[in-house]
């Protein structure tokens, strides 16, 4: 069951590479939250109840509901145009993300470690690099935040791989999630909306030498 959920997660990564509209990105992030909820539920059922409830609440409430709603609110409030505006054509994005997934798959096959569950490693690594790829190839600031959220999801998957042994680490990772999520979205995108008219990363290019 975990495998099915994680493979669906990989498919959402491919989908995010070809998505055109910002709302699609938001839905994908919400779906990823639900998938992570499932994985966390199956994987962490053995740890103590309070911890488990905390982790599950975080995935379902924070990742699947609050952040998507908040992104929606920001897009509406600041009148951001609905297009994602990538620098690259979608086809090339698709190819690159496929290469990322294949690459992490091949890399994980070179590791011989009986303690490592390779599927977690593959998914986490792919999400990490896909997130970095989205950050570097999209124009809007809000898509940078979304790329960062994809990276966070990847980190969450990786922390689940060691979650049974060290639930404390999963909790710290979640605190990172919430902290940075609130910091980037809550304080920041609102401020950018006040000061700049268009959420275009082109406008944040004055500081240089």
């Amino acid at each position: 069951m975990t495998n099915i959920l994680l493979i669906t997660f990989l498919i959402t990564l491919i989908y995010i590479g070809v998505a055109k509209r910002l709302y699609t990105y938001i839905s994908i992030l919400a779906i990823q939250g639900v998938l992570l909820f499932g994985v966390a539920f199956i994987e962490l059922i053995e740890i103590n109840t309070i911890n488990l409830v905390f982790v599950l609440m975080e995935t379902i409430v924070f990742k699947a509901i609050v952040i998507p709603l908040f992104l929606n609110y920001i897009i509406n409030k600041n009148n951001i145009t609905r297009e994602a505006e990538p620098f690259l054509p979608n086809f090339i994005s698709l190819v690159i993300i496929t290469i990322i997934i294949l690459g992490s798959f091949l890399l994980s096959n070179t590791i011989h470690d009986p303690h490592l569950r390779k599927i977690f490693f593959v998914v986490a690594l792919s999400a990490l690099f896909t997130g970095l790829f989205i950050i570097t190839t999209r124009r809007k600031i809000i898509t940078h935040v979304m790329g960062f959220l994809v990276i966070e999801n990847g980190v969450f998957v990786l922390s689940l791989a060691v979650g049974n042994e060290m639930p404390m680490l999963v909790n710290t990772g979640i605190l990172l999630d919430i902290f940075v999520g609130v910091l980037l979205l809550g304080i920041f995108v609102n401020k950018i909306g006040d000061v700049l008219k268009e959420q275009d990363v082109e406008q944040l290019r004055n500081l240089k030498d």
Binding site: H115, V155, Q203, R205, L207
Partner: protein
Amino acid sequence: MIGIYLIGAFVIGVLLFYNRNKTVNYLLSGIFLLLQWIFTIYEYRHLNIEDSGYFMPDSLAVIFLVVLSIVCIPAFYHSYIYFKHNRDIPRERGIYHAATVLLIASLSAAYLASHIGVTWVFVELTTLSASALIYHRRNVRTLEGTWKYIFVCSISITLVFIGILFLTLALQEAGLKNLSYQSLIEKAPVLNVFWLKLAFLFIFTGYTAKAGLVPMYTAGIDAKDKAPSPAGALIGSVLMTVGFFGIFRFYEIISHTSIYSWSNKIILISGVLSVFVATVYMLRVKNIKRMLAYSGVYHMGLVVIGLAAGGIGRYAAILHLVLHSFTKPTLFFQTGQIYRIYKSKSIYDIGNYFKYNLTGALVLLFAFFIVTAMPPSGMFVSEFLVFRSLFESGNWWILAFILLLLTLIIWSFGKNILKILFIPPVGFNDEKVEKIPAVESYSHFILLALVIYLGLHPPAEFVQLINSAITHLPH
């Protein structure tokens, strides 16, 4: 004790945040300084005694705790001057001081942390407080600087977290669960090398954002430029140290494994590239604060080069870091005075500084000699020892390359500073120039004197602290 300290700092921070009264504001800052010093002296007297389970005042932590406590006194003083001469809205002043208190408290806790996760949490907190300081002026430029700082720091702190996860994978094989530095150092030889390598790469890359090294140095440059100069002084000195702490603590673990020489190579490459990048930018940068920020990049490069070269270089690395933490704030405080006279940070608009502010110009001249490591600067001693360690470890080519780059840096640094001091600026109307009282520069002289004293004639206690800070590294 650290529990009391952190709670105290938090309460003072919250009170500062909600307080609107000027007198109460400075009173609270004074109380915090007192608390900081009581805490520092307490930890110094309890050297190497564990505190509250996750904190341990070892020699390295105590050295930099004292440095931090020394630097934050002039930082508060110059913040007071800053608010006297700039827009002073009670709410903004409250946030500024609350963020400063939070920054200093989380730096202290990150220095003392004896658990890799605790270090990580407090380094994360420094991002939050520093970004509040950077955004202080609330315009488009500071917004850009803050945005870049938060974004790059968030990504790099995530990289550090991934590194910690890889470290736990390495631990699982050895059947361990304890992530405190002490137990990691003891168990280092049995850890899985593959995961350790990955962990080192991620943790090193992540902490370079704070330390100001290649590859993630960019965030800090804009931050130091855009923050008010007293805050820039903290970000440009003690905050860079915390990145070094993250790297150094993990390096101690690595040094007991078989990938020790491999990690040395990585650090050396990053250090040399940092000096190189800093040189390239120093040659063309025209904003005095950004110039100082790039100067910080090359100093940190020298520090990690000394660390990786081994031998006497490690002693020199710690010494250099201490001296840098005193020199750089001086220069940043001085840019605050320059900005008050010329209302500009561009080197084109600044000049003939001796005419308008004699004391400040003297500070700038002395600080220039000290930061470029000319004798009698203490940095001369530490840089010389770094070069000696490169020489002794047989890295001839790197030594020659670094010396060449340093010559270029000193040349461009000198060109800009001498222009500021002696050449009249074009189109500058000097009828309404503000007179800066000499008393505002006294703190600079004290810090610079400290650099000379600690470099040329270090007290035996100080030397002993540095030596015991590097005892965990193999000889």
